[in-house]
């Protein structure tokens, strides 16, 4: 179970600090954000994503002593390059050296004053294990946190694989076996670069969203409980002949969960009900007279 990578030889010598890349993704994001006006609002249209052959691929990873996941990747058939895999990174990022070597950017690409940032580019192909992603948007940037991480670990680190890569797949991460599995899915990966400036520079008006239940339950939720220890929403009324009544729900019940989702607000109730298709039973956890009960309610087709 315990293995060498989990020991922290670097940590012991006292003056080196393994640390967090946690901030890095966000920092990169912040850089994008702050650099945006300077770049002008040049926004590339979202590139249609190409999906690798529809077969799950297993990719090994290594744990750095700093608890970061490191993956070897070939970029445009060059490399391997060493990339940190980061679920918290909204983007995929490559440093200048790797980008140049792999032909992602040309040497004369303009640099911004900030971190040698060259902005958005596209990787023709990125291969990890037997999986190849094509036409992957990346941000080319020498991130100081990555540079520092490389120094601490004594490893070359060329970039970060983030959301824009892994959102193309159902990603399974198993820390115990040090493997990831990527299973292609049909999902349109949102282009952060495209939306973010609009959101930042756009109107400050709150957007309105209406949450619709998928079926008819026949109940009226009331106020959320004020008791922090027992968070839930009180049922004001159950309509006669309704799905809720058939499932045993009663007025005065405090609903704490629907279909495995916590219900601490009316919105929670509706968000949960949105996911329960008519005709399908959902577990509903209520507190009635101080005791917890689990009911099964099967909403009807209706509204």
């Amino acid at each position: 179970m315990r293995d060498d990578t989990m020991k922290r030889p670097l940590a012991r010598n006292g003056n080196r600090r393994p640390g967090s890349i946690a901030g890095m993704a966000v920092a990169a994001l912040a850089v994008v954000v702050v650099a945006w006006p300077a770049r002008g609002a040049r926004v590339k249209a979202q590139t249609p994503q190409a999906v690798a052959p529809a077969k799950a691929r297993v990719v090994p990873f290594e744990m750095l002593p700093t608890n970061h996941m490191l993956v070897k990747a070939r970029i445009n058939d060059k490399g391997p390059y060493q990339l940190v895999f980061d679920l918290g990174a909204p983007i995929t990022l490559l440093n200048n050296r790797a980008s140049l070597a792999a032909g992602v950017i040309k040497a004369d690409a303009p640099r911004s004053f900030l971190m040698g940032m060259r902005g958005e580019a596209e990787v023709g192909s990125l291969t990890v294990g037997e999986l190849t992603a094509t036409k992957l948007p990346v941000l080319v940037l020498d991130h100081p946190t990555l540079t520092a991480l490389a120094e601490i670990t004594g490893r070359r680190i060329d970039g970060i694989m983030g959301f824009t890569f892994f959102a193309r797949y159902k990603t399974t991460i198993d820390y115990k076996t040090r493997t990831m599995t990527f299973d292609p899915i049909d999902y349109e990966v949102r282009n952060l670069f495209k939306d973010l400036p609009d959101r930042l520079m756009g109107s400050r008006k709150a957007r309105r969203r209406i949450v619709a239940p998928a079926g008819l339950w026949g109940m009226e939720p009331g106020k959320p409980s004020s008791d922090l220890a027992v968070p839930g929403v009180m049922v004001d009324r159950v309509l006669a002949g309704s799905a809720a009544e058939r499932g045993g729900l009663r007025g005065g019940d405090l609903i704490t969960q629907i279909d495995g989702r916590w219900t601490t607000s009316t919105t929670d109730i509706f968000e949960a009900a949105r996911g329960v298709d008519p005709g399908h039973p959902a577990d509903v956890v209520v507190i009635r007279a101080g005791a917890e009960k689990t009911l099964s309610i099967r909403p009807d087709p209706g509204a």
């Binding site: 967090s20 890095m24 679920l87 520092a148 969203r209 939720p221």
Partner: protein
């Protein structure tokens, strides 16, 4: 605008400078006794081997948030971040949850961490702190939700994580694996926060300043869809409308408006509806209190009925 750009640029430099030292967050240097993984190695967690479907929210910034309760208090939104080495709880969140971080201890013990969907961990170490990504992102209001903490390696590695952005839940399967906490600075020797942490903490307020100039993004206003109280079915028995009312719940808005069992629904708010799906679409923007005009076929006559949508589902 011009002003915002200048501030933005200068902040960018500070971020650039600040992040280099942010690495100190989980700073090394053991010394403080930590909750020992080995000591409870014998007691196998009853959740080992179990899978949990964990609801999540994908923010506009492409970050995954899941809801947790800390020692039973919450829920709070935590960021799923394999790039973070540990469990971080924001200071406000810690206060709300009744956690009491000690100045002379790097870790704050957490008895229980519950995840929405049923997963639970006990006996954990949390770091109470407001790193840049919490303060900065919350100040900008970017994610459209508050971020109250970060689930890093010491939490995530206890699960096999399946993440499919086309589904509304992740699947977490509990592994028989206790990742050790990272080594910590020796606070007992009176070491203050490392300069790295101080620098890091300076970033947050700056981001807040930026947010002040740019304006904080308001959270989405979420309203429940309005309620009618009819069940329906699709079919074409007897010709005419394809969408037919099966039952009208007594005491519901539809009942009050005069909808009857057997009515064929042809239009809702002037949109033709020939299926359940089309009816759902036509009703998608209706909230409690709205008038909904429903055209029905009843005994070969066409009627327009107005129903005032109610609260409920």
């Amino acid at each position: 605008m011009g002003r915002a750009i200048m501030i933005g640029a200068s902040k960018g430099r500070l971020v650039a400078g600040g992040m280099a030292v942010t690495l100190g967050l989980a700073a090394a240097l053991g010394g403080e006794p930590r909750r020992d993984d080995q000591s409870r190695a014998g007691a196998r967690d009853p959740q080992v081997g179990k899978s949990f479907r964990v609801p999540y929210r994908l923010t506009e910034t492409n970050h995954f948030l899941v809801r947790v309760r800390l020692n039973g208090k919450g829920p709070f939104n935590f960021l799923v971040d394999s790039g973070a080495p540990l469990l971080i709880v924001g200071t406000d969140t810690a206060a709300k949850a009744g956690l009491k971080p000690r100045r002379d201890r790097y870790w704050t013990p957490l008895d229980r961490l519950d995840f929405e969907g049923g997963a639970r961990l006990t006996d954990l170490n949390a770091r109470v702190e407001d790193p840049f990504q919490l303060v900065g992102m919350n100040a900008l209001g970017l994610p459209g939700a508050s971020i109250d903490g970060i689930l890093g390696f010491t939490i995530l590695a206890r699960y096999r994580l399946e993440i499919d952005p086309s589904q509304d839940r992740m699947t977490w399967t509990r592994l028989d694996y206790h990742p050790p906490d990272p080594p910590t600075p020796d606070m007992a020797k009176g070491e203050g926060p490392p300069p790295a942490v101080q620098a890091m903490n300076a970033i947050g307020p700056l981001a807040k300043g930026l947010a002040f100039l740019m304006g904080k993004q308001p959270a989405d206003e979420v309203s429940p869809r309005g309620f009618l109280g009819v069940t329906w079915s699709e079919g074409n028995a007897g010709g005419g409308a394809r969408l037919r009312v099966k039952d009208v719940l007594a005491g519901s808005p539809a009942d009050a408006g005069g909808i009857k069992s057997g009515d064929g629904i042809t239009r809702i708010n002037n949109q033709e509806v020939a299926s359940i799906k089309e009816a759902q679409v036509a009703l998608a923007g209706v909230i409690a209190g709205d008038s909904v005009t429903i055209e029905v076929d009843r005994e070969h006559a066409r009627k327009r009925i107005v129903v005032i949508a109610g609260k409920g589902l």
